[in-house]
Symmetry: C2
Subunit: 262 residues, 2 copies
């Protein structure tokens, strides 16, 4: 399991201001702290980038590259920004991502072929709604795969994001149960070892006591790891979550156990 | 998932002395603290009880009953002690447990029928060795079930313990992977919603840093909960482990989510 930091996000005012003023310092500092905290990839989420999307994403990709050569996930719905970021990016790169929404199939999915990049497919229907149960999720997964193949994207490039729901949502618990099951079933469904990514911070969106939120993150990440999650998009500064995720990996995969790895 | 406290154990010198001197106070205090910490059942493990086994187990069962009416697991290999404890016990009771060892099939398993009690069956072979892989575990599970049926014990009374291995053991990680899978597969194998129990403290037996041991417990318990574990035998004073287990349950089963339950 690879830990992807979700911290470089437009909702962080420091990030917002740094993008606005093209100020590399705060971005570089944040990325350096993410790497020190255990990040193995960085998600760059500048929002929809209504103003100068190409210049903003190019600035971000180039700035982050001065701090790390880790893989970058370019996380915006703005296709022009994505194309500019992909063109500028020297780090390994993942497009994050597309869905069955026709606009995304038309404008974002082709970028995976054009730039020979991995791409995340969200398990959402055409209207960006979360399917609640396993069968619905698998049906959407099949359609994402078909769309990728139709666009000439190698299925091995596809990474599925089953979209963790906030626990507070109606049906949130039920959907999140399905998320774990779907991750476990995807390789069989696809007939190849398809990767899955999940954004853990979504789980505890909304009001709630901080300690309990962390405990829920810790427990749910262990379940996701057990189900075979490949990339965990997390607040990398939640060290209990990261420690537990690392321990899960060690419990699941180590050939020769030692406490050093936990 | 029911939390069973493993704290009333002969390796605790307080327990050892209290049994030796038939001193109810320390036992009652310990049980009261276990209940306050979240125990939903109490495992009574007085060791093999070489001296006065019937009197010692009767004393324990009666003493614990003065502190709680929670279910009790009678955890000894001494059949005479078990029979005396089962006769004396007013609390709901579980025999913990039998294995394919011929002596246990002959002397312990029949007690489940005689006292109409739940009984734990350990996934160990005739020589009390841990089978490493899933197929071997399932084969032993089938034989435990057959032994129970032959002894006239209702299969619904059987609780399977796949015996968590210390991580430090050769093949410990590999076996523990199998433990999680076996728990997931048991209901299908048995054709009934057979319960599983697992002793989590085994996981971290041996030298190792305390914090990392707890982190491993927390992560592994979430996986076990996800797999469908019915009873978790834990050190009930490991509050991070218990909190995480409770959160796992809430993530897995709640119909209407609230942070109160986490």
């Amino acid at each position: 399991m690879i830990f992807v930091a979700d911290n470089l996000h437009i909702v962080n005012p420091v990030v917002e201001q740094a993008i606005l003023h093209r100020d590399p310092g705060p971005i570089r500092d944040l990325v350096t702290r993410c790497v020190a905290a255990g990040a193995q990839a960085i998600d760059i989420n500048p929002g929809p980038l209504k103003k100068d999307p190409e210049a903003a994403m190019t600035f971000l990709v180039n700035t982050v590259a001065t701090a790390t050569d880790l893989p970058l996930l370019l996380d915006t719905t703005n296709a022009a920004a994505l194309a500019a970021g992909l063109a500028a990016c020297k780090n390994p790169v993942i497009i994050n991502g597309f869905s069955l929404e026709p606009r995304k199939i038309e404008t974002i999915l082709p970028l995976a072929k054009r730039f020979d990049a991995d791409i995340v497919g969200f398990l959402l229907d055409e209207r960006s709604r979360v399917p609640v149960d396993v069968a619905d999720c698998l049906e959407v997964a099949g359609r994402l795969l078909a769309a990728a193949e139709k666009a000439g994207v190698n299925p091995a490039r596809l990474i599925i994001d089953p979209v963790i729901a906030p626990l507070m949502w109606e049906n949130g618990v039920r959907h999140n149960r399905a998320v774990v099951e779907v991750i476990r079933m995807l390789p069989d469904l696809f007939g190849l070892p398809v990767r899955a990514i999940a954004g853990l911070s979504n789980l505890t969106t909304g009001p709630g006591p901080k300690e309990k939120k962390r405990t829920a993150e810790v427990a749910f990440l262990a379940m996701l790891a057990d189900a075979g999650l490949s990339l965990a998009l997390v607040n990398i500064f939640h060290h209990r979550t990261v420690d537990s995720g690392a321990a899960s990996e060690h419990l699941l995969r180590s050939d020769i156990f030692s406490w050093e790895g936990v």
